[in-house]
């Protein structure tokens, strides 16, 4: 029943989650500077070697897992909530409000997403909260567009018309008659969203716009590592591999989820 396409990515993501949540309780020394160990490759004491300040890379990777998980969690939660709310209201009410929201969505879509996030977090100043803010500002649009389109078609379903005929108020219809049917497509969108948010956070941190030292992010670890690529390639390889594994897992699971939930692709 369970396929390896599900088990492997799912267990990788669970490890990611566990490390992110329980990281602070592990005996880690991510900021411990050990000058004698500078740039040393992997050994039995540090499984992934040390960075340019002699800090153990494995410990920093785990703290980086925390950063990327924190950002992905909040960005997806915020954009999902705001996007679904705005999209449902826009699709349900229609008229000028809908027209206004559609224009707003179009304006946001006219900017390449990552560029807007780069500009925003640049102007807001570095820091993890600003990364969450910048990525959410970019992220809600996709959810809103999807929720609006779905609401438009759900609006004319019989069960919604029946609820209207029974005198149900708008909030009740949206909450009990439309929202449950939105869940499947929104979940798929959210899953793929995690992958792009993880890459975007690492990208912003790579550009120096994300977390500030000494806090660790996979993106900033790659940036630090690029300066020592010739002598210590493990500084770039390790965070990159972890990042790619997480993104790959999310994408693989997303594909599986889409195949399961999406009726259209079953032909």
């Amino acid at each position: 029943m369970f396929k390896y396409q599900i088990i492997i990515p799912a267990s990788l993501l669970i490890i990611w989650l566990l490390l992110a949540v329980f990281g602070p309780w592990l005996p880690l020394q991510p900021n411990q500077i050990n000058l004698p160990f500078i740039l040393q490759p992997a050994s039995t004491t540090a499984w992934l070697g040390y960075d340019d300040l002699g800090r153990p890379i494995l410990d920093r990777l785990i703290m980086g897992a925390r950063t990327s998980f924190f950002v992905a969690f909040w960005v997806i939660l915020l954009s999902l909530f705001i996007g679904t709310l705005i999209g449902m209201i826009s699709g349900w009410i229609g008229g000028y409000i809908d027209l206004f929201i559609v224009r707003l969505i179009d304006i946001f879509l006219a900017f390449p997403g990552i560029l807007l996030a780069i500009a925003l977090s640049g102007l807001l100043g570095p820091g993890i909260e600003n990364v969450v803010l910048a990525l959410s500002v970019v992220g809600w649009v996709g959810f809103a567009r999807l929720a609006r389109a779905q609401t438009l078609s759900l609006k004319h379903r019989e069960h919604v018309l029946a609820a209207l005929a029974l005198g149900a108020k708008t909030p009740r219809i949206l909450r009990y008659h439309i929202l449950p049917l939105l869940m499947a497509p929104m979940t798929i969108e959210a899953t793929f969203g995690i992958a792009s948010v993880v890459i975007a956070e690492a990208g912003l941190s790579f550009l120096g716009l994300g977390v500030q030292p000494p806090a660790a992010s996979w993106g900033s670890m790659i940036r630090d590592g690029t300066r020592y690529m010739l002598v210590a390639p493990h500084m770039v390889l390790a965070p990159g591999m972890v990042l790619i594994l997480v993104v790959l897992s999310v994408n693989l699971l997303g594909d599986q989820l889409r195949d399961k939930l999406d009726v259209k692709s079953h032909h």
Partner: protein, 278 residues
């Protein structure tokens, strides 16, 4: 105040009087609304203002940087198309075989590997170990190869998926069966009947992916110290040079919108069935 350009320019030891003087000279002491209005009025006249940092007119700065970005974007696009169309076609024609799976694994990897990891990796292999290409900078044609590859492979991954999906749909159409029935050879069918009809959706995706390409260019240009608009954006963000940041974002977004409009117009030329009412 964090992100104050005056503080960044004068440093922390500057006196308050100096700061106030510079702020007045740059027009940063005026009310925000007034600053915004005068910006819009100047913009209408094609005047993007001056850089806070170097005092140069922003238009000149953009002109200096634009060729590098255009060169990189076009090269990246070319690489993407050259990889994606054969790969996607192969995957569609040999559906559910090893070729198909290989192409899809490539595509999944391409989507999952970020530019800022691909770039350094290519530098390690091709510049440092093999010594074929320069590490960074923009000197001669060889220096274009690695940044274009970084940008192109990621785009190729998305594109190959689209080519495959589109071709799969088209290969089941009646006119393909007709073409086969009248005895055309497979190459002619693919090149003249299938791919031509696939052009429309593929070009749409290409236009929409231009945003990803330009966003990716910002990171790729930073990795390879490529003196384009993307690097300019990051530099001016670090210097708090707001007018330049604004101009860069404006330029990139405008070109994104422009290209997508052109894509729409291209439809009519590619597909006689599409007609716009004038």
């Amino acid at each position: 105040m964090p992100g104050d350009p005056v503080q960044v320019m004068l440093g922390e030891s500057a006196t308050l009087a100096d700061q106030a003087q510079l702020r007045e000279k740059l027009g940063l002491n005026q009310p925000l609304l007034q600053q915004w209005l005068s910006y819009l009025i100047q913009l209408q006249q094609g005047d993007l203002g001056h850089s806070l940092h170097s005092q140069e007119p922003i238009r000149d700065i953009l002109w200096q940087r634009l060729p590098a970005t255009l060169e990189l974007a076009i090269a990246g696009l070319l690489i993407a198309v050259l990889i994606a169309i054969p790969l996607g076609s192969l995957a569609a024609l040999r559906q559910n075989t090893v070729y198909d799976q290989g192409a899809m694994i490539f595509s999944l990897l391409g989507v999952s590997i970020p530019h800022f990891w691909m770039g350094p990796l290519l530098i390690v292999v091709f510049s440092l170990n093999l010594g074929w290409f320069p590490v960074s900078g923009r000197e001669g044609g060889l220096s274009l190869v690695l940044p274009a590859l970084t940008l192109g492979t990621a785009l190729a991954a998305i594109l190959a998926r689209m080519v495959r999906a589109t071709l799969l749909e088209i290969l089941h159409e009646d006119y393909i069966r007709t073409a086969r029935a009248k005895g055309l050879n497979e190459t002619t069918i693919i090149l003249y009947h299938a791919l031509r009809n696939a052009a429309l959706p593929i070009i749409t995706i290409l236009g929409l992916q231009l945003g990803t390409l330009l966003g990716g260019a910002v990171i790729t240009e930073t990795v390879f110290a490529w003196p384009g608009i993307g690097q300019l954006t990051i530099e001016s963000i670090q210097q708090r040079d707001y007018p330049v940041v604004q101009a860069c974002v404006l330029l990139i977004s405008l070109s994104y919108v422009l290209v997508n409009t052109l894509t729409d117009l291209l439809y009519a030329w590619l597909d006689p069935r599409v007609r716009y009412r004038v």
